[in-house]
């Protein structure tokens, strides 16, 4: 009962927020309102990405640098469903009011995107997670680039021209729900026995195995859940920008997500979310320095790792420095 009330409260809250945002930013009195709305949307999508990558990189202590690949799969698969299967589905939903029909279509497309990203996560994670963390890093890096090259060569999704004509189904209501879903899922995992297994793997893989933790199975599960949320973020992204190009999914995007969680503190949920928001808003404030953005990111990453490896919000309980809580 309490849970149902909570879900209703979240739904109502997001609905109210969406109504307020539409009234003030999109149709309302605020100058450049749509621009702020866009930043808000992107921040939300980045929070989903950062929180989901944190499950693998922060909580399990593995290292994936191909999150943009799963983001891309989710975006392209969901967008293809909307573009190619959407009209047929729309016909069968003709009786519903337009916002309900849009929501159903978004949910169907997102489900496809999430499923595809999760399947890809399993394919990538299965061979590489059996081994030590550094193999995952290189496999995911290669995977991210190859997905991009493959998409570039598929003509049905626009190839090098980019994928146009995607309907705009997502709004802050859905992104907000996605953020809540990602954060609460990861929170629940961390507090479950699965989460304790993940933390034990992070702290000492050999000891965890000796205690009977099925190391590979737990690692792969966490990785697949992370990939699935990246797919969700992709679907929400595609249905917001209405246009997809592989340039949004290069390794630079993967690094951006890594820097978000490293800045906030690997393994810290609030840190990941905060890092995502900060790194979405800051580049908008410093547009003049766009050229130096990646240089600054890279330097920040090195300096954080040397001087404060637990990140800004980490509690010094990462990488065997001190005990968990």
């Amino acid at each position: 009962m309490k849970k149902i009330l909570l879900v209703l409260a979240v739904l109502g809250g997001m609905g109210l927020l969406q109504w307020a945002l539409t009234a003030f930013l999109l149709d309302g009195p605020v100058r450049q309102g749509p621009y702020y709305y866009q930043i808000l949307m992107l921040a939300g999508i980045n929070v989903i990405l950062a929180v989901s990558l944190n499950l693998t990189n922060g909580i399990t202590g593995q290292f994936s640098i191909g999150h943009a690949g799963f983001f891309a799969i989710g975006a392209y698969v969901a967008a293809s469903v909307s573009v190619y299967a959407g009209p047929t589905l729309q016909g069968s939903l003709a009786g519903l009011p337009s916002f309900a029909a849009d929501s159903v279509l978004l949910l169907v497309a997102s489900a496809a995107g999430v499923a595809a990203a999760a399947a890809a996560g399993w394919l990538v994670g299965m061979p590489s997670l059996r081994l030590r963390g550094d193999y995952l890093a290189i496999v995911t890096l290669g995977f991210g680039e190859i997905i991009r090259v493959l998409i570039l060569n598929i003509d049905a999704v626009g190839g090098a021209r980019g994928f146009t004509g995607i309907p705009r189904y997502s709004n802050f209501f859905w992104v907000g729900l996605g953020v809540v879903a990602a954060i609460s899922t990861v929170r629940h995992i961390v507090r479950s026995s699965h989460g304790r297994a993940l933390l034990s793997i992070r702290e000492d893989e050999i000891a965890a195995q000796a205690m009977g933790v099925a190391v590979t199975r737990h690692k792969v599960t966490a990785f697949v859940i992370g990939a699935a949320f990246a797919g969700l973020a992709g679907s929400l992204f595609g249905h917001f920008t209405m246009y997809l190009h592989t340039n949004s999914f290069t390794f630079v995007k993967s690094f951006e997500i890594i820097i978000m969680i490293a800045l906030g503190g690997l393994g810290s949920l609030a840190g990941a979310a905060l890092g995502a928001v900060v790194l979405t808003v800051l580049p908008e404030l410093f547009r003049g320095f766009a050229e130096y953005r990646m240089v600054i990111y890279a330097l920040a990453l090195i300096l954080i790792m040397i001087y404060r490896p637990q990140g800004l919000l980490g509690k010094g309980r990462f990488l065997g420095r001190g005990k968990d809580k």
Partner: protein, 299 residues
Amino acid sequence: MTAFLQQLLNGLSLGSIYALVALGYTMVYGVLRLINFAHGDVYMLGAFAGYYASKLLHGRLNGGLPEAAVILVVSMIACALVGMLIERLAYRPVRRASRLTLLIVAIGVSLLIENLAQIFFGADPKFFPQILPERMFEWRGVLFTNQQILVLATAVLLMAALTLFIRRTRTGKAMRAVAHNPDAARLMGINVNSIISLTFALGSALAAAGGILVSLNQPSIDPLMGLMTGIKAFVAAVLGGIGSIPGAVLGGLILGLAETFVAGYGSSTYRDAIAFFILIIILLCKPEGLLGKGQVEKV
């Protein structure tokens, strides 16, 4: 048959470049247990060092082999210094931290080099000067160029020199000792810091040689050229058994041959995917690599 021999030659020439870069990965992995992500970028810096050196030298040496040799040496020295600098500034402070921290720092260094290079060199491709005019030879229908021979000869020479150095000299022995067990090596009076520094210098110099040799063949160089080659060379090192020097050479050659044959007989679109495919297969079947020794992780 001629087509086969032709592909074989092209594959060996490409593979020897992967082998040169893979050696750096494997050597650094041997002493630090670190995948040096910045290694591919050192290879890129090697090509650019050669590019600027040849601009400076232009007209003073009238082309040909001597100029190519001077450029090769200059670029190898420059990259050896860069490699030592990277190790000193970025890796040494976190050497005692967890491997994950080290890995993240390595990624940061790679990103930093790539983006600084884009600012300083410009993001668009540059054309490496034609130091050695291409000449074609034919032997029973197989076409080969003087550049391919130079690539093969230089690669073989450098690998032979490296093997001799590691097997026959005292410093080489110290290097093997550090790779085997850094703490024990330190107790035996080996200066571990300077050996690690030297390993970075050697690996980076070999990567620079790879960068120059590639640019002689394919003269278009850009700041991101190290990314794919870096990944592929790493795959080559894993294929041969990471930490094993003959393994890196073998892995490089196999990868080069595999890529050339796939591009020659299949489709060139999937040329870049083959390395990834090999990596997955090797991780599934024989994660210690072809020549690597299976190691049990100890507490």
